[in-house]
């Protein structure tokens, strides 16, 4: 029944897949490059070492991956090709021609820009994973591959959890499953339903990439894993003075003990990594020594008394990124007001929403250079002030709102691009009322509705109609 690694050799054929080359042998499986497939991309076979002498974990994690991988779609996950039966276990999947994140570990600490770039890529992949109902629960450098185009691919779903399927691992094992440096505090406590566990692991990865040190070390035993519940890590700026306060803010927020103190979603994290000037700095940013034992202990006790763990779906739904696009240069007050009313209604239903206020400004090609001088700078700052003024009545918490000016010769294209890059969930735009303007400029909102990768609300002021 068990696939015996000793007996597999190049040239062997497993259900039509010819084994070409043994790429890797891990603790639970071996990975073979195979040929003779119909796929138009290279394929590997993952063959688990299934032994029926008590190694239940490898069996259950193989089943878990076999169930979850076929349900994932998009560039951030290996394409599923086929899976073998119970008696002939294997999973055939796309071979990711890219660079494993492990490669970067040879040159730690990395340049800060590189840490940020990798952080954005991995956060983007995580968001796509969470949107497909899956929590990875074993995110670590071994499980991330960067495609040549820069996209991060997450592999190995052996410990993953699909929030609409039975959790095969949950009650089969009394001990938590995970990897020493990266496992989240709540996983150590046995919770496998919170997507923010993956954000904790990503925080550990970013800390490691930026400092060369693991914030919680590499404990091998579960007793050692528990220390992260009450031991506060050394602030990363202490280890690398090139880390800016805002990046420390982000990293320390990700590795908070209480999931409610972390980012609510990977999309919101990616957003902050791409807009550092908008990160609200707290005491975390300036911290230069680890918190004392008692302080962390009190956080842990709070966590144990009052578990805040959220299910995946609820967590994502409660923390969308909402972008609202305004053209305040258009001097009629009715439309901005109508947009504000609509925004208020939408925000009322989602307590953890992040609001991005965008001042969209159409410019001609000639103007682009003009905006670089001092006059241009002043105009830019005035627009930010106008945006902030517009948003005051919404009374959104400071850390949940950002202001940006988008200048483009094609505002619709710029907004669509913005929505895609920032994983916006909901875009609110105004409709121009005047048909004359529409005739000359085309309808910006119609193009956005047709092409934006998210929900779009088009607001029209009744006063204008």
């Amino acid at each position: 029944m068990a696939a015996d690694i000793q007996r597999l050799s190049p040239g062997d054929v497993i259900e039509g897949f010819r084994l070409d080359e043994l790429l890797r042998t891990g603790g639970m499986s071996s990975i073979w490059r195979v040929s003779q497939t119909d796929a138009d991309y290279p394929v590997i076979l993952k063959i688990p070492f299934l032994r029926y002498d008590g190694d239940q974990l490898s069996i259950v994690s193989f089943e878990t991956e076999k169930i979850i991988l076929p349900r994932l779609h998009g560039p951030h996950f290996p394409h599923f090709v086929a899976a073998g039966s119970y008696n002939n276990p294997f999973i055939a999947m796309e071979f990711i021609a890219g660079t494993p994140l492990e490669t970067w570990l040879e040159q730690l600490p990395l340049e800060i820009d590189e840490v940020i770039r990798l952080g954005v890529k991995i956060a983007t992949a995580l968001q796509k994973l969470h949107e497909q109902h899956v929590i990875h629960l074993d995110l670590k450098p071994d499980n991330v591959i960067l495609r040549p185009n820069g996209d991060a691919v997450l592999i190995d779903y052996g410990f993953a959890r699909h929030d609409r399927l039975p959790d095969l691992l949950a009650e089969e094992f009394d001990d938590p499953v995970g990897t020493g440096p990266y496992i989240s505090p709540e996983q150590v406590l046995g919770v496998r339903s919170d997507p923010r566990s993956d954000l904790f692991a990503l925080g550990v990865i970013l800390y490691f990439l930026a400092t060369g040190k693991q914030p919680f070390g590499d404990p091998m035993r579960i007793a050692g894993w528990r220390r992260r519940l009450y031991v506060d890590p050394v602030p990363p700026r202490r280890l690398n003075d090139k880390i800016s306060p805002w990046l420390q803010e982000i990293i320390l927020r990700l590795i908070e003990v209480d999931p409610n103190d972390r980012y609510p979603t990977a999309a919101q994290l990616a957003f902050d990594l791409q807009h550092p000037q908008q990160v609200l700095l707290t005491a975390r940013a300036e911290k230069m020594t680890a918190s004392g034992f008692m302080k962390t202990l009190s956080r842990w006790l709070k966590l144990r008394r009052n578990p805040p763990f959220a299910g995946l779906k609820r967590q994502l739904a409660s923390a969308p990124i909402i972008a609202v696009a305004l053209d305040l240069a258009d001097r009629s007050p009715q439309l901005p007001e109508a947009i504000r009313t609509a925004t208020q209604g939408i925000l009322a239903t989602v307590p953890n929403a992040r609001l991005a206020c965008l001042y969209v400004f159409k410019i001609s090609r000639v103007q682009i250079d003009e905006m670089q001088d001092e006059t241009g700078r002043n105009i830019f700052l005035r627009r930010l002030a106008e945006l902030e003024h517009w948003s005051q009545p919404l009374a959104v918490d400071k850390e949940k709102v950002t202001y940006q000016v988008l200048e483009s010769v094609d505002p619709a294209a710029a907004l669509i691009h913005y929505a895609r890059e920032n994983m916006i969930d909901h875009l609110i735009v105004g409709a121009r009322a005047s048909s004359t303007v529409r005739r000359y400029l085309g309808s910006v909102s119609a193009k956005i509705v047709a092409e934006a990768p998210c929900t779009v609300t088009v607001v029209r002021s009744k006063a204008q109609v």
Binding site: L165, P166, E171, E172
Partner: protein, 246 residues
């Protein structure tokens, strides 16, 4: 092969029609009815004839406790269920009653068992409402997969290699792999009288080729079914509960 599994129809024509229509759209190729075609609802004749039609075309229909109570009074039934059965008996003709009487308690095909209530003494109509009851069912049968009804609340139980019984509430329309490493018990929800606070009719499709089961919820005309129950003079609670799914 996609097998539609329908249980606890309880003389609810509107709910059965909605589920049969949904199952046909989902590509069901075979039908297995897990019992309780009558009792509570206002359309016992229509439902019984419909099931008999399906059986004539190759479907399997098992006996439920309400069906059995039509020809064999059941002292364990509560007053409301008994009142509904007494009314039902007056509505069914001899042929319909004979059809119910001909139904088997359970049916095993290879390593799959179909039964109305717990496999542990099926004629005793034990409810599989928790892990302990599920364990008794697992112990009473050698089948790898067991499908039953009777509870009116959908649930999936799995017994692990370390003999733990684990309960899972299936998500609507999401296929669940019934991995051959374990044994699985699927409690199919009720077509005609759901009791999990969701009024939509419940049924499931078992895909034998892909070895997975999907539980579905199908909205139907609950107001119409409830109005007929009131018009028939059956106890008020039987119509009221359809609207709220309790």
């Amino acid at each position: 092969m996609r097998i539609a599994l329908l249980s606890d129809i309880h003389a609810n024509r509107e709910a059965l029609e909605a589920c049969l229509g949904h199952a046909a759209e989902m590509g069901a190729e075979r039908y297995i009815f897990l019992g309780d075609y009558v009792g509570y609802g206002a359309d016992p004749e229509w439902v019984t004839d419909k099931i008999a039609d399906y059986v004539a075309k190759g479907a399997i229909a098992l006996l439920g406790n309400h069906d059995a109570a039509v020809f064999r009074p059941d002292a364990h039934m509560n007053d409301i269920a008994t009142a509904a059965i007494e009314w039902t008996r007056t509505r069914l003709n001899a042929k319909q009653q004979a059809f119910l009487q001909s139904l088997p308690l359970q049916k095993q095909e290879d390593d799959v068992l179909f039964v109305h209530a717990s496999a542990d003494s099926p004629e005793a109509w034990h409810y599989v409402t928790d892990s302990a009851a599920a364990r008794r069912t697992f112990e009473a049968s050698k089948a790898r997969l067991i499908f039953c009804g009777h509870v009116h609340v959908p649930c999936i139980y799995r017994i692990t290699t370390t003999a733990k019984v684990i309960e899972f509430t299936p998500a609507d329309s999401t296929p669940v792999e019934l991995s051959p490493i374990w044994r699985w018990l699927n409690v199919i929800g009720a077509v005609g009288q759901p009791r999990d606070r969701l009024p939509a009719a419940a049924y499931a499709i078992f895909d034998t080729a892909r070895n997975r089961v999907a539980h579905y919820r199908v909205p139907y005309d609950t107001a119409g079914a409830a109005a007929k129950i009131r018009a028939a003079g059956l106890p008020d609670v039987l119509s009221a509960r359809l609207l709220q799914g309790y």
